[in-house]
Subunit: 343 residues, 4 copies
């Protein structure tokens, strides 16, 4: 198998497995279920006039929603990314590309990430595993990615445990913070960081912001668990069993939000990890997030069609609007400062 | 379908669906189960002499119970209302009519609400969606309703979320409070407010009382959920799915009671939402309510016959008396000031 | 049916129903499960030398155990009482007779309560519904009961809720405390009080002790529920349904013990209600009880044979000894003052 | 049956029963599940360089793991001990022999404990029931055991409740502490103590350390329960039933660790009882243990083959390394002082 084939195979397996529920963490939840909204029986609002628009990376968008980084690479990924990009543009969602490392490694992968033509106005994020900075990935290569994707920012994903379980994973995370600092300085777009489902807490967020990052996506526990995904993929018996012990690993999303807000209250914050509904999103925004990211929840629709995505998006937006009507919040600012979120 | 037919159809569907358990909120309860009575092993009482009579809207009644607003309109509703009215009169329960808006809209609906002849002495409440005040409903029309129904008071229902999910619902709740204030001033009967199952909390209750309302019926969560009812009725896919996220929405009844009592301790307070037994009722009264309303719990009997209702009522009264015997409370005042309700 | 037949029928039904699990309270427990003993890994004890003897009503007994009041009356009851009395004498358990009211009402019932010949040395308690003092039962009749039974004390049971559900129950509990006070003064044996499964709390215990009673048996919730028993027996539909609401009624045994000890720390205290094992008993003694009563747990064996009872008793005693070994308590006093009972 | 046969039979039954899940305590857990690690998204570590070596009884070992005392005696036990010893040596685990009392009682049993030839470098512990010191076992006999086994230390097991249930168990624990003190003084190897699954708490640990013991193995509740094992083996009906009441007896392992650390923070501490994974082990080390012991979890592999054990060990080590990577701890000292263990 060439490297190209092996990358394609891995990406295809990720998508296929993530279409099943086996990849969910077990005995762990986002923690959002511990929050409730206090219903306001007499909202001083016309439902039709509720506003859910916001802005991210200095661009206005019609919703506070993001499709989290998922895929890229040939074939299936190309269709998925196009479907998502078109739908995001139409409804005003921000869009995160999957890891763009493949672009550099093989020209054939490039086109699947070049979705700016479908999504001219919305914030788009390029994506790279931070550990690549220890594996020879250069600032110049990052710059090329930004050129090719015409993205508004770059998000580095931190996925230590996944790399350990994954065959031939890159597990040298030593001194990465310094390299992240240099990259943030040298790149002229905003750079952020995300986990992939085990969550960034306050301490780590602070160190990243101190190193110059512009935004944090907590990508906490409660949804897709990458030890579960790699457990299912692994053919090494010892890793397969060891991964099992991590089925409830990770920092729940709600905890991450609270903890990060304590440390870096002024840094743009993306809530993700286990988001299912507009109600989850509303809770996250009321806790203090600026944007809410959905990954696996939208995968089925993304594989299916643009129409399926659009319908799914409309439901999430309606849920958010209904929550806002239910608590009497006329816009996202009002939601973010509500006193009607209780534990 | 004429408007008349469509109203009839909606009412019929509401009744039909509410006869099934699918309309219950999920993963939410009234909160009354968190309270317990401390049994008093030696009550200084003759069980036969326990008194459960009280008064509401300046009328004495033999029980602290209310049949909550449910229906009205032609056919089935007419029989239901007659059955309930006769039984309420016989056992001394207060009676709430369903939304009387239909009376104004079509003469044919009128008779079903004119039950004063069956219930000459008990408190009767007319009912109207507060949002109608934004849809052109006038004070004069309210006065006509009071004349036609010969009711002792008018209760405005607040049902924001239901209106959103319901097809062509009235969702402009803007400035309603001002209109409610005018209505309360101009009408010469007491005006109150109720939710329909998501609950009125202290803040909202205070604003309503400040606007001149005379009583509050919390109609909290734990029983019938109107997002569930409308989810089942809806033919719009997007609303149907969005409604699902609200299956545990609302302020639990017990919470509402505590919260409202903190804000407006002197306003007559009706506990309702999820009431099943006289034990639930006793807890509500001991928390501080003046009257306890039952809606869906009595629907089956109401559809069935006057006799079924009477038997059901007798059970609820006996339960209440037994609780009072069990804690040594000789009358409703003693129950309301008991120190034997614990959490 | 003569009164005699009806009493016999009732007693027989009680026994029969209590042999099934349907009479257990639902969603309620004794509360003892919230306590744990802290294991002591190196007890300074020879297991053979552990002492479980104690004393009650000025008699020494080999165990801190009591068979709670259950039955009396002809036929089956006679055999049960004889079996229990013989076994109690053999193993040094105290013995409580069932309600001895029947002795006065019909001569034919008398012999079943006259078990002193089988149990010459142990404490024996006669038993009477306190409410009978309002139904014409006199001090003289009580004296006669004491003569006939040769019992060491009289325990009055308080069973308000049972009386309400029971057909033709005696439900006038008015002014009973005064009558209890007179009885305690006039009778020259110790008089105590017990519930029948809904528990006596601190406030009631205090009033009873102030009225002159010598001991309290809490008979709390967590085991047999007499609203459940009478629900099953009842043929009156309204009572049958109302009784259902009381399936979790009552003060849990552990709560009663704590609460009574706060109010009357120096009054001999019997723990009962839901006792199953010597571990339950050990917890109750460590909380502060002086004696531990078992009713329904031993009914099957009591109906069966003396041998079955003896074996059952031996198990309970071994369990108690093992707990004492496990925490290093050499006798009942050490158990009562252990610091190894934790919540 | 000769004593030799009866010992062999008992040991064989223990192994056989412990291969089933029936020997687990019920409704009780180690308490470790209440702890969680806070994921560190950006560990400053190269996974390959994580170090899990430590030392015990002045010997360096490659892991902080111990195979807890299990068996010894002829046949099956001989194979088990050899398999375990070889594997422990290969992977650098400490090794605890099962009770070496049999060595003294019959020459035939001796060889199964003489595993030093297979495990020349690792810490090996000889094992004896402390109660034997009350049954005539002398210091000289202990010395002989140390000679024969060439072990680095002797661990005395405390198993009071097991001895009560076991037929002809030794249940005189009186004055044992004094004898333990003498033994510790007279023996020139370190002597420690362990329970067998009900746990040593702080108070007992303190008394043992004051008596001169060098280390404590808590052997707490949450895994194998020896009242359950002996319940299954027992042929005495009364003991069989009484044992049932002890199915949730014991001090959970996590509690023991915390409690012992409060009393004797400087004494080497072994965490055991219910250990299943390297994640359990990591939590125990982070709480404060120095070594982590596994008994029943490895029994199946021990009976099977050296290869099975080796593979099982590798998984546990990988789990530990992954936890350390996940929280950014580069070695056991860093793990022990982490602030990322939360409740
Ligand atoms: C199929 C799939 C592929 C993913 N690929 C990437 C990726 O390339 N880069 C990345 O940062 N995260 C990736 N993720 C992680 C998501 O961005 C997200 O952080 C994680 O799935 C948790 O969110 P969820 O619970 O909503 O799925 C992927 C997730 C899925 C389901
Ligand atoms: C069939 C049905 C019809 C109802 N119609 C009305 C109505 O017209 N006006 C109103 O204020 N509430 C209406 N309600 C709401 C009830 O008054 C009550 O607030 C709600 O059902 C919660 O109480 P429950 O849990 O006891 O059912 C209706 C309820 C039911 C079950
Ligand atoms: C069959 C049966 C008959 C009983 N009869 C009496 C009685 O005559 N007098 C009394 O005070 N309690 C009576 N009780 C109540 C018991 O004494 C006891 O208080 C109650 O059953 C709670 O204890 P338990 O949970 O161990 O059953 C009876 C209980 C049973 C099971
Ligand atoms: C088959 C078997 C035999 C055992 N034999 C001994 C023994 O001889 N001496 C001893 O101190 N503990 C003995 N134990 C107890 C263990 O050392 C350990 O303390 C206990 O099983 C709790 O740990 P676990 O939950 O990991 O099994 C034995 C355990 C098992 C499963």
């Amino acid at each position: 198998m060439t490297m190209k084939e092996s990358i394609q195979k891995r990406k295809a397996e990720h998508i296929e497995l993530c279409l099943t529920d086996q990849v969910m963490g077990e005995n762990i939840s986002s923690g959002l279920e511990k929050y409730r909204f206090l219903h306001h029986a007499l909202p001083d609002l016309n439902f039709e006039e509720i506003e859910i628009g916001t802005s991210f990376l200095e661009k206005s968008i019609s919703t506070p929603f993001l499709v989290s980084s998922m895929t890229g690479g040939a074939a299936l990924a190309e269709a998925i990314n196009r479907n998502l990009a078109v739908a995001c543009e139409e409804r005003g969602w921000a869009f995160g590309l999957g890891s763009t490392r493949a672009m550099v490694e093989d020209k054939a992968f490039r086109s699947s990430f070049q979705i700016r033509k479908y999504a001219p106005t919305i914030p788009v994020l390029a994506n790279l595993g931070a550990v690549q900075l220890n594996e020879g990935f250069t600032v110049d290569e990052c710059k090329r990615i930004m050129d090719w994707t015409e993205a508004d920012g770059l998000v580095l994903h931190l996925n230590s445990i996944q790399e350990v379980i994954q065959q031939n994973g890159d597990t040298n995370f030593k001194d990465l913070l310094t390299k992240i600092e240099h990259l943030a300085k040298d790149l002229d777009v905003p750079v952020g960081a995300k986990e992939v489902g085990f969550g960034i807490d306050g301490e780590v967020a602070k160190s990243l912001v101190d190193a110059g990052l512009s935004f944090i996506d907590v990508a906490g526990a409660g949804g897709t668990s990458w030890s579960q995904v790699e457990k299912l993929r692994s053919k090494e018996k010892i890793k397969k069993i060891a991964a099992e012990a991590f089925s409830d690993w990770g920092n729940p999303t709600a905890f991450c939000l609270e903890d990060v807000l304590k440390e870096v209250p002024d840094t743009p914050l993306i809530a993700s990890g286990g988001m299912k509904t507009g109600l989850d999103a509303a809770k996250s925004l009321a806790i203090g997030a600026n944007l809410v990211g959905f990954a696996r929840s939208i995968l089925k629709e993304a594989v299916d069609s643009e129409e399926a995505i659009l319908e799914w998006m409309e439901v999430r937006e309606l849920e958010l609007q209904m929550v806002m009507f239910g608590i009497g919040a006329k816009d996202i600012n009002a939601l973010k400062s509500t006193n009607r979120l209780v534990r």
